[in-house]
Symmetry: C2
Subunit: 154 residues, 2 copies
């Protein structure tokens, strides 16, 4: 059987490698965070919320809108993370309906270590690529992310 273009491509596809890299980083991050936070019950779905939380605090409805799911779904996961002491809530002074979600970055030692563990993955990437390559790849991959995101808006 003659190999089609599709077949030939597989080994050298950046798309595939980016998918794989993303998945491996997720796995590694989850394992590291579970360990460092001392929270075996921590799930991928919890960490998946992180990108939607601003450091200035973010409301649950806003997070849901960003993630593209219902606020009920977000609400439950946030509550679980509050119980784990990873996040905390603070009622918005401007609007007492709204509960702003914050990272509990000044929590216990274990919690501190958890956040550090998540960061350590980036340190690992820098160590492995070197600072120069890291910055270069970061720039290029960020450009791709922006391309996909801007196209989705149409």
């Amino acid at each position: 059987m003659k190999k089609s273009d599709f077949e030939k491509q597989k080994g050298a596809s950046l798309a595939h490698q980016l998918i794989k890299a993303g998945r491996l980083i997720n796995e590694r991050g989850l394992a590291a965070a579970r360990d460092a936070f001392h929270l075996p019950e921590l799930k991928q779905s919890h960490l998946d919320l992180f990108p939607y939380i601003d450091f200035e605090g973010t409301g649950i409805s806003e997070m849901a809108k960003r993630k593209g799911v219902s606020k009920q779904s977000v609400s439950k996961l946030v509550q679980e993370m509050v119980h784990m002491n990873i996040l905390f809530l603070k009622i918005d002074l401007k609007d007492s309906r709204s509960k702003r979600v914050f990272f509990n970055t000044s929590g216990s030692f274990a919690i501190q270590k958890g956040f550090a563990a998540l960061m350590s993955i980036d340190h690992m990437l820098i160590d492995h690529l070197g600072e120069k390559s890291y910055m270069l790849v970061l720039r290029e991959v960020s450009a791709l992310v922006e391309m996909f995101q801007s196209e989705n808006q149409n």
Copy 2:
């Protein structure tokens, strides 16, 4: 509140950008494939099997082992993709218990277009980065993938 290291890092994390890139490529690939294959019932879980199928054919148990899930789970998804004409099965001449799974790259026009659509994402990446950057990023990201995979073996 003084920003912690964790807070400062967020905007410039390669780890985060790689996760995001992987997710966006998955979404885009699924949408493109659904459209080109004319298969609205195609799911992410189906495409997720692609990386575990060799062009020389792969047994279901082998795919399951590679993916780290039960063979029953893989079996079901493969059957669905066979019904969609994306894959076909061929009984191994050396072992009549084993059904080798193949890409149906010489299928109908729609099926051909489906595989082309999946490839087109890489063309898009090349167009956007330029060939030189594409190769460079591919090399670096592949190195990261290999690093994570080799560590998982210990």
